[in-house]
Subunit: 335 residues, 2 copies
DNA sequence: TTTACTTTCCAAAACGTTTTGGATTGGGAA
DNA sequence: TTCCCAATCCAAAACGTTTTGGAAAGTAAA
């Protein structure tokens, strides 16, 4: 029911003409085209996606594989990015297929299945790692993809990324200018590219000021991770006067640890994060943080995928975006 | 490259036999089947998804349309649910296609496009509304779907839902037993089914104890919404001694408002939420909340969709799950 | 030996599009 | 008139599977 054949039949036209009319080819009379459009609307005709994909060879399908960590997968800004990607792609009549696998052999197998079965024409790769097998594989198979975040690849690849290095450099310099000397970094695992970049920014600013970069440790980027690391640093005889966290979630955990130790965030110890999650305005005191607008990034990510599918050059699809700083009371700044 | 034809050719078999061998039909010799399997592995052959879908008529595709509100879409537990759905579906070789549209005409048009173009064989409908056009439409077109949350429909439909009514009833009764009399409810918009259910639970418990249910108001279920409503209630001459929030995010906003007013959460005013977001363990004091395990729900949602596609009866696919209560210090309970 | 049945395989049709390579018509130029 | 070209249309092939309806060969029963 509702195939192009019945539509063509009811119009007394060939299916060729109907197809070309709807696809906007120039070799069909304007009057006919209108007639076809109207009938298609009335019958609620939509070309069968599978048939179209089969014939065209390309499926108009973009895959997004969530790297679900063992245990909970809780990414504050994730949903927003996904929504933006979905909106943008669907506007251009592309499908976003969502999958999930934890990094490791399962993930690799999933990528192979998607590529070999031609279930996806392009990929969006998030949460990039330093040495990223996903990137290797897609490059080798020459499947189009866009990364959110950079990776250590010798071959060119398309990406969009926030400038975490510059952001953390600027933040660290700001704290140094306010008199801080012992500034700790609570990092996420540095095998994750975003964590490595942010750490590099902190390290550079500290080095420029001639300060030691010993107060640094890695943990999962969760409230719990932040709490554990902060507790450890607070027990030092020379405890830090400022704690820079890789993410807002870590900062929330760190703030809790500081309060438990009987200290006051903002006056006794500065705390900062990254992400500008909604809750960061409602911590006590409000959390100093920085932000890469996820909705914009998601939209751009989708645009870049479409561009790549359209044959755009990889070198024109490499973007690093500055972060928006939000200085607030948790670092003795802002309101 | 890599079609079933080349595979059949290289084996000296017909494509029929190859297809049936790989699909496990009984009319192919065990020896042959092994030979085919091995060759398929070596060549990395996977059936072309579009061709298979076209021929089979069913696309093995489940659609998930995110109801993106105007402005920010930030759903703490959302990513986890999505990951679980994706994992489960992909295990059964089904695709999860993700789309996004804000409730309204765009959303309706998107559903039509998906159904009429046969881009989706089934739907997962989340964030159900009292009068839900998505449900009406899918029922009318008799497209299989599963709701997360219930709705006001006279016809039967498949759903899984947390028992927010019982959960809030139990919580309210607990607070009453601890001596609270003026218990306010900070609700999400009651056009959303989950908010209406939770409000009903609170109202019933209050009525049973002969208490007034005037202390109730609706706002967006965000930190900001919670903050605004709490501020309003705190200004009353007879302010509430307990504030029940529809979500943890609202509770975070409410706690901030209480502190700003110079009061102490837990001792002066009890505060509770719902969702058990990770941050709820790291508020000061830890937040009393309740939970529907999202990973489990996601998995079950996927299973139910598959069951429905397999012809299971709707009446066997209606589940209400009890919530897990987490009494904590923010309501003077727990540790 | 013939018959009937089982096992194993296969040719061809079908799914609903898009694309290729014309065919037809009418009008203007020669 | 004849020829050419532009404007419209269309029949048939192709995309890569799965499924239908046997065919061929071997085996057991009569």
């Amino acid at each position: 029911m509702g195939s192009i054949r019945t539509l063509a039949g009811s119009l007394g036209l060939s299916i060729t003409t109907v197809s070309r009319a709807l696809d906007g080819y120039p070799d069909v009379a304007e009057e006919t085209r209108e007639r076809v459009r109207k009938a298609a609307d009335e019958l609620g005709y939509r070309p069968n996606a599978a048939a179209r994909r089969l014939r065209k060879g390309s499926g108009e399908t973009v895959a997004f594989v969530m790297p679900t960590e063992p245990g909970r997968f809780y990414e504050p800004v994730f949903a927003e990015q996904l929504a933006a990607i979905g909106e943008q792609l669907s506007e251009h009549h592309h499908d976003l297929v969502l999958l999930a696998a934890r990094p490791g052999p399962d993930e690799a197998a999933l990528y192979r299945r998607l590529v070999e079965g031609r279930r996806a024409d392009a990929f969006i790769v998030v949460r990039t790692r330093k040495d990223d097998e996903r990137v290797h594989y897609l490059q080798q198979k020459s499947v189009p993809f866009i990364c959110h975040g950079r990776t250590d690849s010798t071959q060119p690849y398309a990406y969009i990324d926030g400038d975490g290095e510059a952001g953390f450099h600027e933040l660290t310099a700001r704290l140094i200018a306010r008199g801080h000397r012992r500034i700790a970094l609570l990092s996420a695992p540095t095998s994750l590219m975003f964590a490595a970049r942010r750490a590099a920014g902190w390290r550079a600013a500290m080095a420029e000021a001639g300060l030691a970069t010993t107060l640094m440790a890695e943990e999962a980027h969760t409230e719990e991770g932040g709490h554990a690391l902060a507790t450890r640093f607070l027990a030092l005889s020379e405890r830090p006067t400022a704690i820079i966290c890789a993410t807002d979630r870590m900062a929330v955990g760190a703030m809790r640890a500081i309060e438990s130790a009987g200290l006051t965030v903002g006056s006794d110890i500065a705390v900062t994060g990254h992400d500008n999650i909604p809750a960061s305005l409602f911590t006590d005191p409000p959390l100093t943080t920085m932000e890469l607008p996820m909705r914009e990034v998601g939209k751009r990510l989708a645009e870049m995928v479409l561009a790549r599918l359209g044959g755009a050059d990889i070198r024109d699809l490499q973007e690093v975006r500055p972060l928006i700083q939000h200085p607030r009371a948790s670092s003795g700044e802002g309101a």
